[in-house]
């Protein structure tokens, strides 16, 4: 006796139709927000810069090719399944025994080879175009150094060191100012990914990588570290602040200044320098020359704290100084066990670092 799950063909059809509609329903539900307009969503298909734009165009071609292949092959499968399904009365005999056909095998070998050939051409061209791009005059050169779990950002030509928020000028039609980045790592492997600007490039210790992008629209854009780098990999966020050329130049001038020593915070200044803050942090123009943590020279010009985890407000600074492990557990800044007075004084001092 043969085991038959679907004595009733109608049940089979109902099940298939139900599963298929569910599938379409779910599929549509997902495609819609992915392609709809959403601010703050780092959609790779809504690029705002080269090379993400070029990657999107290549991707659409590939998606199209894959969609056609899917429709053809899935169509054939569905046809075979429906047309050649077992029917009542089939038990009596076996279908014709076909062992193969060399012509058919040849056809379905050659067709994929042709498709693959086209894809190879498109791919190689795009790789060469993006990877071998040379920096034009006027390009902004920056070095990004990955740390567990924050980004050190240096502009060697401009003499600026900052962290976590990369400022770049917007390119305009007549004045192109792409950003060319050197990527390094101080500890483990990280990966720099701002989806709307470019694909990923890894930051690997003892190896220098390069990448570039050329945004045109001012704004703040998000990205993540995309290579697992330890405990707080999830909260190693990048912000790229794209500014008009004038704003960018003003930002550069501000950052280049050494910190102003505000006289009214002398006490608080003392609290900072009396603690071991200086072992890890740099404040240009002072004796604080530590290299392990982020540069604090212009801390208050940054939007966020702790690698993009919380907004840079006095309250958050206070919480952070009291116990960094409460905000970002596992992070490499220890709880310094400071008294409330010390914390308040240091926050007051830090707030002068504009």
């Amino acid at each position: 006796m043969r085991l038959s799950l679907y004595a009733n063909q109608r049940t089979l059809r109902a099940v298939i139709v139900f599963a298929f509609s569910l599938f379409c329903f779910i599929g549509f539900g997902h495609v819609e927000p992915a392609f709809g307009k959403n601010d703050g969503v780092t959609n790779i298909f809504r690029p705002l810069s080269q090379p993400a734009q070029e990657i999107k165009e290549t991707s659409f071609l590939v998606l199209l090719v894959c969609a056609v292949i899917f429709i053809v092959v899935a169509g054939l499968l569905i046809y075979a399944i429906v047309r050649f399904r077992h029917r009542a009365g089939d038990e009596a005999s076996e279908p014709p025994q076909v062992y193969g056909s060399n012509q058919i095998e040849l056809a379905w070998t050659v067709l994929p080879i042709l498709v693959v050939f086209v894809l190879i051409l498109v791919t190689s061209r795009t790789i060469a175009d993006i990877q071998n791009r040379k920096a034009p005059p006027g390009a902004v050169q920056a070095t990004v150094v990955g740390h567990q779990w924050w980004w050190e950002i240096r502009y060697p030509e401009l003499g600026i060191v900052t962290a976590n928020e990369l400022h770049v000028p917007a390119s305009t039609g007549d004045k192109r100012r792409p950003a060319f980045l050197k990527l390094q790592s101080a500890d483990v492997a990280h990966s720099f990914w701002v989806p709307q600007f470019a694909g990923k490039t890894d930051l690997i210790p003892n190896k220098e990588n390069r990448m570039w992008f050329e945004p045109t629209k001012p704004g703040t854009y998000l990205g993540n570290c995309a290579e697992y780098c330890g405990t707080q990999h999830a909260r190693m966020l990048i912000r790229v602040v794209v500014q008009t050329p004038e704003e960018f130049d003003r930002w550069v001038r501000d950052q280049q200044q050494a910190t102003s020593v505000a006289t009214n915070v002398a006490d608080s200044r003392k609290a900072f320098f009396a603690n071991s803050c200086v072992n890890c942090h740099t404040i240009r123009g002072t004796s604080a020359q530590g290299k392990f943590g982020p540069d604090l020279t212009h801390l208050m010009s940054r939007e966020m704290l702790a690698g993009g985890v919380v907004p840079n407000t006095a309250d958050n600074l206070r919480l952070w100084l009291r116990d960094p492990q409460k905000i970002k557990v596992g992070c490499l800044m220890p709880n310094m066990q400071m008294t409330d007075t010390e914390v308040d004084e240091i926050v007051a001092y830090l707030q002068t670092l504009k």
Partner: protein, 557 residues
């Protein structure tokens, strides 16, 4: 002439006590018992590692969730990945190979039965050692516990400066042990296939499953040394103070990635080919036609085996290789799509013109075909290097490889379970529970992994323990978690079914599916000696010849 039915009545062991049965398992060198022990243990690890996946999904169900601490989460995904590959995938293929190859080539046991038992125990204790790290790796105060470096353990995160304590050492040593197990098991299957085929079983008359197992085991021998060698180097880095991957002292972090993926990419095919093997046996039987283009299927598998050792760096497009290097690995990756496509077409050709019976094994095969098609196409997308720069290390990649390893590998293996369970146990798995398992798993699978492709498009990186609201990932992740719970329920149904049917299932008889290969000519379950007399075969389908003396296969081959 072909095979002879064994006239002996089904052998019923006199009921033994639990201790006697356990003792029997410990001392056994029987390929069938060992095969089932491999598969049973793998299912145990599947449940544990699956529960970890549920933990991961629960943590990610809503933004800024506080359910799991970051370190706990990182250990979960490390242990999940490591277990699923080394303690679920590898032993399942070893188990299938062990159980089926001797039966399909008409012999009484593997070539090296004791080595076979040795391989199993190495695997089992390797796996237990990995999980013992939860208790035994305290390391420095407050550090350690299970490994948390990810399943591919990129240098230099594994250096002692960044991975304190002994958790990484547990990862290295336990995998070295299981690798020894996999290696001896591979040698055994190869030797058995080459040396112990029954009279008339030429290489080109072997069932496709045996061919595919042969290829897969050759690949194990080729690929595993890459990993073992790298792990030994890492141990040397960690203790005697070597500098292979020590970037502070001029070592190279990228070399680790090359070593790992020289193992890691063939590994994907090592897992996939046995699933292909199950399909290549099941689809013909339930379509009532011989496999379409047998020699081409053999050739395509060998091609996949060859090409797959030259594609490893497609996991590394973002590490900053030259444009020439990137192009080379893109081309080799595209090439592997061709033999893979040929296989799909040949299964389609087998179904075409047949009379397809929608039994449970076939349902899993059909789901496999659609899911593997999608997995292959997303693989093609990932081979397009610029697209890969966007997609790699994002949730798109997570969705892609779960499509291959769950949607294809696991579905293929489940098809095999439903197909050969009557042979191994003598009873059918309950079809009603089987249908529940199938539909819950299909729906759960699509809810989870279809969704995650889109999370990748929206810039969600993999291996993050939390994310902020407002980045468009919330709904997608919530749906994915619902799907994961759905899949977990399906596995529960399967477990109930396996246990229940062993006692209460409908009796199957020797040849419940009206199939054609030698394992169906002996009792269910097969006696210790497999075949009372050595079978002789004249074609690829000895049982077809027997059932259709008027139209035997050997006339056409």
């Amino acid at each position: 002439m072909a095979t002879q039915e064994i006239a002996l009545p089904a052998v019923r062991e006199p009921s033994a006590s639990l201790m006697e049965r356990l003792h029997g398992l410990v001392i056994t060198v029987d390929h069938k018992k060992l095969g089932l022990m491999y598969i049973g243990t793998a299912l145990g690890f599947l449940v544990v590692a699956g529960l970890m996946a549920v933990g991961i999904r629960l943590q990610l169900a809503v933004p800024v969730n506080k359910l799991l601490e970051p370190d706990v989460f990182n250990r979960f995904f490390t242990m999940h990945g490591t277990s699923m590959v080394f303690l679920v995938g590898m032993p399942i293929i070893a188990g299938l190979g062990n159980y089926l190859v001797p039966l399909m080539i008409g012999t009484r046991d593997m070539a090296f039965p004791r080595l076979n038992a040795f391989g199993y125990w190495m695997f089992l204790f390797g796996g237990l050692l990995l999980y013992f790290s939860y208790l035994g790796a305290p390391g420095l105060a407050g550090h350690g516990s299970a490994p948390d470096v990810g399943w591919f353990a990129y240098a230099p995160l594994t250096a002692r400066a960044f991975s304190r304590g002994t958790s990484t050492d547990y990862w290295i040593l336990s995998l070295l042990l299981t690798s020894v197990g996999s290696t001896v098991s591979a040698i055994n299957v190869i030797a058995t296939t080459i040396a112990l085929r029954c009279p008339g079983m030429k290489l080109m008359r072997m069932p496709l499953l045996v061919w595919l197992m042969l290829v897969t085991n050759f690949m194990i021998l080729l690929a595993l040394p890459g990993l073992s060698g790298a792990q030994i180097m890492l141990l040397i880095d960690r203790y005697p103070g070597g500098h292979f991957f020590d970037t502070q002292a001029g070592g190279s972090a990228v070399i680790w990635q090359h070593f790992f993926w020289i193992f890691g990419h063939p590994e994907v095919y090592i897992l996939m080919i046995p699933a292909f093997a199950c399909l290549s046996e099941i689809i013909p039987v339930f379509s009532r036609k011989p496999i379409f283009g047998y020699p081409i299927m053999v050739g395509a598998t060998a091609m996949i085996g060859l090409i797959s050792v030259s594609v490893w760096a497609h996991h590394m497009f973002s590490v900053g290789m030259t444009s020439v290097g990137n192009t080379f690995f893109a081309i080799s990756t595209f090439l592997v799509a061709i033999p893979t496509g040929i296989k799909i077409f040949n299964w389609l050709g087998t179904m075409y013109g047949g009379r397809i019976r929608f039994e449970l094994p076939m349902l899993f095969c059909i789901a496999f075909l659609f899911q593997f098609l999608i997995a292959g196409l997303t693989g093609v997308m990932l081979a397009v290097v610029p697209f890969n720069w966007q997609l790699t290390d994002s949730y798109f990649v997570v969705a892609h490889f779960h499509y291959t390893l769950v949607g294809a590998f696991l579905f293929g293996i489940f098809a095999g379970f439903y197909y050969w369970y009557p042979k191994a146990v003598g009873r059918f798995l309950d079809p009603r529970l089987g249908l529940w398992h199938f539909w819950l798993f299909v729906i759960g699978f699509h809810l989870t992994f279809d969704t995650l492709h889109f999370a990748g498009f929206l810039g969600m990186p993999r291996r993050i323990f939390t994310y902020d609201a407002g980045r468009g990932w919330d709904t997608l992740n919530f749906i994915a978690t619902v799907g994961a719970l759905c899949q977990a329920t399906a596995i529960l149904v399967l477990a109930i079914n396996i246990v229940r049917s062993a006692k209460k299932g409908r009796l199957a008889g020797n040849d419940p599916w009206d199939a054609w290969t030698l394992e169906w000519s002996t009792n269910s379950p097969p006696p210790d000696y497999n075949f009372a007399t050595m079978p002789t075969v004249r074609s690829r389908r000895p049982l077809w010849d027997l059932k259709h003396p008027e139209d035997p296969d050997w006339k056409y081959e």
